[in-house]
Every structure is written in C-alpha cells, then in structure tokens.
Symmetry: C2
Subunit: 322 residues, 2 copies
C-alpha cells in the first residue's frame, strides 16, 4: 500500500491534474504507484515533496552521504526491473487464456470510461493485446493492412486504457479508457453514428445520431431546448425552456428537489419516491449544467479522480496547500 | 405526429408502466405509434379513452353506424398492412448497406440503454439483423451451432432493442436496449467480468469485476462502504461511512451542496466550480440512494420514460387522473 503521506499528495495531484488514477490503481495497486508516477510525471511539484526527488533538503542529504544514496537508487532500479519482468510474465500468462480465432484474433471493443460510450470496435491479435496492456494505448490488428495499429498513432487521438476486460468465452475484450479526442476517422465522437431508425424512417436524409444512453440522451434533449431558447425559436411549450429562461426558478427548483429527495429519507417514504425525486434532482441540476456549458462527462471525470481515495482524505487534500 | 391528446395519454401510460417509449418513438415516430401501442398493449386503460377502443361511448356510436365503423376498420387495416410492407422494404434497404464479411457476418454488440454497460458481443448475419429490427429482440448468429439465436430464447432474459446503430465501416452494430435479466449464461449481469488488472496482480485468485464506468464505479464504492458499516467493520476512515451512519448529516450535506451548485450560477462562478459542485451533489445524493437501496439504473429508467415528452406535459400528466 502507498503510505498515507504519499497517498495524500498523489491524490491531490490526480485531482488537480486529471491524471488517470484508476489506471494506476488498477495496474499497480501497491507502493509502485508512487515510483511509476515519478517516472511518468517528472514535473509534478507536490509529489516531489514526499518522495525525495531533488529538492534542496534532499540535495543536502545526498551531499552528506552520496554513496548511500547511489546504492539506494541502484537497489530501487533492480527492484523495478524485477517487477517489470514479473508484470510481463503475468501478461503472458493472461494471453495464454485467451481464445484466439482461426486467424489468431479476438474482438476488441473500446469503451469510454466516463460516459460508457462504445467508441469503436476492432480486432486484436496477441501482440495487440500485449501492447495495449503494456503501453496502455488501445491497440488493434488491422485486417486490411495486416499490421498492428495503435489508435491515435496518426491522429494523436489515443485511447488511454485504464483496464481491459475479458468475456466469459475469452474471445472478446473491452478496452475501458479515456480518449484524447474524437475516435472516428470522420471526426465523430464515436464510430457508431448511423441509427437504424433514421435510416428506416427517412432513408433519403443522412442523419447522424450517436447511440446515447439515458443520461446523455437527457443531456442532449436539454441542449436542444437550449438551442431553441438561444435561437429564439418558440416551438411547443417546454418545462426545460422555462427553466433555461428563468434562472431564479431553476435554482429554486434545484433546492426544492434536493429537499424533497431528503424528505424521502427523513419521512421514511417508499423507495420509488426516492428514485423519482432523484430523477428530479438530476434533471434540474443538468439544466443548470447546460446553462453553464458544463458536460456531464466533466463531472464524471472529477468523480473518477476523487473516488480512488477516501472522501475524508480527499477533503483534507483539498484543504492542504498541495 | 401524435395529436396532443394522444401524446398526453400515451406519455402518461409510458410513465406509469415503464413501457419503452424510446422504442416506439424511434421506430414509429408518427401517428402509428398510437396504433402500434393499441395492438401491443390492449389492456392499457388510459389510452383507450383517447383512441376509441371499445369504451361504452364508442360502442354506442358503433351501434348507430356499424357499417361505417367496419369500413373505417378495414381501411385502417389496409393502411397498416401497407405501412408494414414499407417498413420491411426499408429494413431490406438498410441490410443492403451493411458490409458482411466473407462468412456473411458482422459484429453485434448489445449495450444497456440505461447504464451503458456492454452486455455481450456476438455475430449477426443478415437474418439476425432483420429479426432484431422487426422483433426488437437482440438476435445473433451462433457460429458454433450454425444457427440463428435470439438472446433469451431459453433463459427468457431477452434484450429488448430500442435502436440499432451502425459504425462508419458498416461492419459493426450496436443493439441498444434493455435486458430482461442478467445477460451472461453464468448469471453475471454482463459477459465481461474478468479484469486484466486482477489477473495480472493476483493470478491465483479468481475475481469477478465488471467494466464499470465512473458513475457505477462510484455507486459500487458507496455500496462497499455500506457493507462495511452494516457489517460493523471499522477499517479506514471514510467520509461515505460517516454519511451512511449519520442521516441528519447526509441530508444537511445534500441541501448544502445543492445550494452551492446554485451559487455557481447565481454568483456567476467559473464553470469548473459548477462541475465540482455537481460532482458533490451527485455523490451525496448517491449515498442517500444507497441508504434507500435505490440503484442509479432505476433513476435513469425513470428519466428515460420522462424525457420522451415535454416536461410541462409530463407534469400535467402526473397531475391528471390518468
């Protein structure tokens, strides 16, 4: 485990920089997270305070006992090398369990860690999976070019993989990660943007529609209403439009709905009331997000950075200078 | 478009019954939604008030002009048949655009419409896609059995498909829908439950871990804390545990955070403050959900049922008798 002092600075760094905590937690859930972080983020200011990179006090100590310091560093490097070797051996063991098809491939699906959006689907051979696990960049095998292909190698829109999941048959993988930008070569957020319903209902019109799940469909609906309001389109009456136009009403509703959610607990109401009031809180709060141009994805990214640590620690780290 | 009268009762039915509005909206976004609904939900009480199924007043009218009524019904049936024919033709056109591989297959990924979880991945041939679009049950082609396979045909855990999405290459599909129960034959919620990180870190221990996105990872963390509290485990300090144990504190925090979110709008604070306060609202409200044993999925299902209609209409429909 990381020491408490190390954890706090590490956490606050993550919270401040948006660095992918889950990646570090999942692949290196031990003291090596600190070492890995130092290697990958040499400029991190807070971290150096705890881990002894070259601050003035450390330099003074090193001057007093340079030989001792060198020996310590050498030991650390040897330990690191050994651990890297073990990591690679374990990745090889994992690859042994995968059921490659007659072409040596499995299906690999890249999924957005915050929104859950399916970004793209490709195929992966043994080397592609190995590279994904070791480089943490989603890597596939291009069947048309018969070569390895790391998503982003030309566009720079890499998919930073936090973890990989195998299905029950071990012939299909999920690369769960955070994309650096739009995934599709067309510039679309994901490769899936043609809805069967649109094709069937209006085959003559080319419509783009992402497979949005409920939360993002709601976000999209609110955005549409906002466009109507901003554009001065009247259209049919809408509660969302009223809220968007009347910020006093919106804030009063958010406070009211939050209180109603609490009442379901305080008054021991039925759990269906809780679900309904939570839906109200979420909807009204999301209208406020739309007014402020904040995407739910940004909120979820913050939560991802936070929940890798104890809430109390997180509160303390926010209060600290670091 | 549905008439306003029809929409209101239709919407309230959807809100009350949890029937999949998006399915109806997406595949039949015109007046046929009413007809389709009448056919598929003959017992719906409110709907019959508006659409003239056999209430006493309609019977009286029919008695007065039976011939006229019969003619109308015949015309309606003919129209319906014609529309069904057109629908099938359009599905066939869509199938023509798909790029089947050398075995006549494409990848088909089933995704949960509320949570975004990737439920399973299979392959689909032309007939499987056709059946999925016409029956709205996720259907695949089993390569091992060389036969069509509708997920749920033995377990009854069907995946009710709201819409299908094609990728930019037209060789990969998403079946976006609601599962009737666990998707995996092992009883797991999804087929993806083996994390590479677990395998690499503790290869000797078989751990189940779903590829949870940020919102559900947070929900899971809160659930774990609740288990600690209920089980009387002390463990390390946790803000979540404090909130779970002190409902007065929890409710006071929810009200406080909701108010702080509003302040970011009222005081014109930076949008990063809004995102941060929304994260606080969401987290604290989710602790309350955990106390009440409500899953975020239930909340999202409610929102999905609601956002197919204007909020004002929805509010009115909730106030009405229907």
């Amino acid at each position: 485990m990381l020491s408490t002092r190390c954890r706090v600075s590490f956490s606050s760094f993550v919270a401040d920089s948006g660095h992918d905590l889950s990646l570090l937690n999942l692949f290196r859930p031990n003291r090596n997270s600190c070492k890995f972080l130092r290697r990958s983020c040499p400029l991190m200011p807070c971290y150096s305070r705890w881990t002894g990179s070259k601050s003035s006090s450390v330099l003074a100590k090193a001057a007093a006992s340079e030989e001792k310091e060198e020996k310590r560093q050498q030991e650390e490097e040897e330990e690191e090398e050994e651990e890297n070797g073990l990591f690679k051996t374990q990745v090889e063991s994992l690859l042994e369990t995968i059921k490659w098809d007659e072409k040596g491939l499995v299906v690999a699906i890249a999924q957005h860690i915050d929104t859950g959006a399916i970004l793209m689907q490709g195929f992966a051979n043994r080397e592609a999976v190995y590279r994904t696990l070791t480089s943490r960049k989603a890597t596939f095998y291009s069947r048309s070019r018969s070569s390895l292909w790391t998503k982003g190698e030309t566009s720079s829109n890499f998919i930073n993989v936090s973890n990989m999941f195998m299905d029950c048959d071990r012939d299909s993988m999920i690369y769960l990660g955070k994309p650096d930008g739009p995934t599709c070569h067309t510039g679309a957020e994901t490769c899936y943007f043609t809805a069967a319903s649109d094709f069937i209902n209006t085959p003559q019109v080319e419509t783009k529609r992402l497979p949005m799940t409920s939360l993002y469909c709601l976000e999209d609906t609110i955005s549409q209403r906002k466009l109507d309001v901003v554009g001065g389109h009247s259209g049919k009456p809408s509660w969302t439009k009223r809220l968007l136009e009347d910020q006093k009403l919106l804030c009063s509703k958010i406070r009211e709905e939050a209180s109603e959610l609490c009442h379901t607990l305080e008054d021991n109401e039925d759990k269906s009331r809780t679900a309904s009031e939570m839906a109200d809180v979420l909807y009204h709060a999301m209208v406020l997000l739309a007014v402020k141009n904040v995407k739910m994805e940004e909120v979820l990214e913050i939560l991802r950075a936070r929940f890798g640590q104890s809430g109390i620690e997180e509160k303390n780290s926010r209060k600290s200078n670091c």
